[in-house]
């Protein structure tokens, strides 16, 4: 059966504040959300994007060197993650998928914590309440309901925080994402659905998930939506700020579709050359989010060598700390396997733990037995 492998996007439909060559484009509806973004603020966004690209490259290298079991690269999605992530307030709460390490960086995650899961040292890298970001979700789409429920809790508390959930184009096919939109609209929950349409769900093109632009679905649930150029960091910042403002002032949920592109593999276990045309990659490389912002900065005289050098130095330093944190990570203890299954004691688990402890201890006693034999035989 032939599959629709491309959802045509009307380029005019995308909110764009920086053009492909770095030119600033006026936008009557969205310029007001970025009026305070001055030269230093733009330079900070540039630094963020360079640093997370460097983190991503270092983690990919660590995986290739056998230090990580797996890594999901975000290459190409820097603008979507930094633009939205930098719009958030400390008391907002993020429920993401596994590719949002750039958002975690914005939330202030400890660098080593990003790698814990991928090294296999923990099921989650950080305490969600430490950075107000839930640990990454592997079941695609499940977290959209968690964000909606959290937002319902915000409503009950009478607070003005916002829950933000990240997911990909593939996740929009899941029932949970659609149920989340039903609940969000019904309760007018302060939640933002931030879909990074990166065009590929492992090997499946976005056209297999959607026959019309993904953002067009949300109005059917009664949720306003916007399509934004996901490779334009300023536009991503603007649309997220607008959605946050709507949520904080009782306007309910917003659906954002950031149209971007996953330039690397799905994970380091994936081989995109098997399913993806090299020309497509080339087209998107020309829309590189960092190059685009660099073009804007350069045109304004904001990217002299001392800035690019300083950013590079910072990125290298972050990468070095990431590597050091990865290889010096403490190994978990054997009996940690039983920890935190329950909050309260559980007789079944206690029995299994007791038996396993005795099993492990049996090696120690047999080792000492063999030592005695060896000594005795001398």
């Amino acid at each position: 059966m032939p599959l629709n492998n491309r959802v045509d996007a009307d380029p005019d439909e995308l909110v764009q504040l920086i053009g492909p060559n770095g030119e600033r484009r006026e936008n009557a509806a969205y310029d007001r959300w970025v009026t305070g973004v001055d030269g230093p603020a733009l330079q900070a966004l540039y630094e963020d994007m360079v640093v997370i690209r460097r983190i991503d490259a270092e983690a990919t290298a660590l995986q290739r060197q056998g230090e990580l079991a797996l890594w999901p690269p975000l290459l190409g999605q820097e603008a979507a993650q930094i633009g939205s992530g930098r719009a958030l307030r400390e008391d907002d709460f993020v429920f993401s998928s596994y590719r949002e390490n750039g958002v975690a960086y914005c939330r202030g995650v400890d660098l080593t914590d990003i790698l814990r899961v991928w090294r296999g040292n923990a099921s989650s890298g950080w305490d969600p309440y430490g950075i107000n970001m839930a640990t990454p979700q592997v079941i695609i789409g499940a977290q959209t309901l968690h964000a909606t429920g959290y937002a319902m809790g915000i409503l009950n508390d009478g607070a003005d925080a916002v829950a933000v959930t990240y997911f990909g184009d593939g996740a929009t096919s899941q029932g949970d994402v659609n149920e989340a939109m039903v609940f969000a609209a019904s309760y007018q929950a302060p939640v933002i659905f931030f879909c990074q349409n990166n065009h590929w769900a492992i090997s499946e093109p976005v056209g297999l998930q959607a026959h019309v632009p993904i953002a067009h679905r949300a109005p059917g649930f009664g949720i306003p939506s916007v399509r934004v150029d996901g490779n334009d960091v300023l536009a991503c910042l603007a649309v997220t700020r607008e959605a946050l403002d709507r949520a904080r002032t009782g306007g309910g949920p917003t659906f954002i579709e950031a149209v971007t592109y996953r330039m690397g593999p799905h994970t380091t276990a994936d081989d995109p050359t098997r399913y993806r045309d090299a020309n497509e990659l080339e087209d998107w490389a020309a829309k590189d989010p960092i190059a685009r912002l660099a073009g804007l900065l350069d045109s304004q005289g904001l990217l002299p060598a001392e800035v690019t050098d300083a950013v590079k130095t910072k990125a290298d330093d972050v990468a070095a700390r990431l590597r050091e944190g990865c290889i010096s990570m403490a190994e978990p203890e054997a009996l940690d396997v039983f920890k935190h299954v329950y909050s309260e004691p559980n007789s079944w688990l206690a029995r299994q733990q007791d038996q396993y402890e005795r099993y492990l201890a049996s090696f120690e006693s047999s080792n000492s037995d063999s030592t005695e034999l060896t000594e005795g035989s001398r």
Partner: protein, 338 residues
């Protein structure tokens, strides 16, 4: 002490829990104005408001998934699944999220959810309204599973489930909702544990283990057996995960014979777990292999046939005869023990 129905006792327990903790919220389909299809939440929205008793869209994964988010925010959601067969759309959220988030986050995130499930058959309902899905959940680490069998336990254990920092599936035998019993509302809920099994009838010849809807049937079977000179000890498990094996073991060491009965299908069911665990623990005290009297390995049948599927007094007594090596349904024809 007052007399109330099973359903009313759960209602009273919910009310008490909501009064004691403002973070307790109820979520589910039709639980507000209607008070639920079984009226278990009757009057609670009127008294606590729509923010505490939330009518949900008709989407079970949505209910469970948003409850996870509420718990993240510090609430203690109590979910009503309208009927047992409707829990399957929520299965992913229960087993992949609710059960695992505490483990996944190394204890940072608590999931104090209570999931109320009216379960079991015997009310002549159509498909999806009479199932016994408890084994799916007892097989999932991170969940606690309990089942109540009388109004007093229903009143106490719903409060214990809500107070627990672990997620609890609370299985309510819907065919017993209208059974009346004495309820002491002044009881201290911290004085007992929902994890402990209860010896309903003491006996010395056979241990009969059950829970939920079959507890009254098992008690009647013990009475009938005693007329026949057989002393049956009946144990109501109350907790299905974890099972209080110490209580069952103590009984089997005394009687040497074990019958397990439940409505759920036999294969891979709780009866298998109980038989295996008790055999491991007291093999040398057993006079006979444990016997299971259960529902069949069939989809729940249409109502004209459901009383063939559900264990009743006579099928349980037949099981008792089997462990006693007395003439029984399997011995009479072939002479072979089944």
């Amino acid at each position: 002490m007052s007399t109330m129905t099973f359903g009313r006792a759960i209602n009273a327990g919910l009310r008490k829990a909501m009064e004691n903790d403002p973070k307790v919220v109820l979520m589910g389909e039709d639980i507000g104005k209607l008070g639920g299809v079984f009226r278990i939440t009757d009057g609670l929205q009127k008294d606590f408001g729509q923010h505490r008793v939330m009518d949900s869209p008709l989407a079970e994964s949505g209910i469970l998934g948003t409850a996870v988010g509420m718990a993240y925010r510090g609430y203690r959601p109590v979910i009503e699944i309208q009927f047992d067969g409707f829990i399957y759309p929520a299965f992913d959220q229960i087993v992949c999220q609710v059960a695992k988030l505490h483990y996944r986050t190394q204890g940072a995130v608590k999931m104090p959810l209570t999931i109320r499930v009216p379960f079991g058959g015997g009310i002549g309902s159509p498909e999806h309204h009479s199932e016994s899905p408890e084994a799916y959940f007892t097989h999932t680490s991170g969940l606690r599973v309990i089942s109540v069998s009388n109004p007093q336990d229903a009143y106490v254990m719903i409060q214990q489930a809500i107070a627990s920092d672990d997620p609890v599936l609370y299985f309510e035998p819907k065919r017993r909702y209208h059974v009346k019993g004495e309820v002491d509302e002044s009881v201290d809920i911290t004085a007992s544990s929902m994890n402990d099994a209860r010896v309903v009838v003491e006996g010395s010849d056979v241990t009969l283990v059950t829970y939920g809807p079959l507890v009254p049937t098992a008690r009647d079977a013990a009475t009938a057996a005693s007329d026949d000179g057989v002393s049956v000890e009946v144990i109501d498990l109350r907790s299905l995960a974890p099972i209080d094996f110490a209580t069952v073991e103590k009984s089997v060491r005394k009687t040497g014979r074990l019958v397990i009965t439940h409505e759920a299908a036999q294969s891979g069911g709780l009866g298998a777990e109980i038989a295996a665990s008790i055999t491991e623990r007291c093999f040398y005290h057993l006079e006979h292999a444990p016997v299971r009297v259960t529902g069949f390995d069939i989809p729940y049948p249409y109502s004209k046939l459901e009383f063939h599927h559900l264990p009743d007094l006579d099928r349980i007594l037949d099981g008792v005869d089997r462990v006693l090596d007395r003439p029984n349904s399997l011995s009479s024809q072939s002479g072979l023990e089944g």
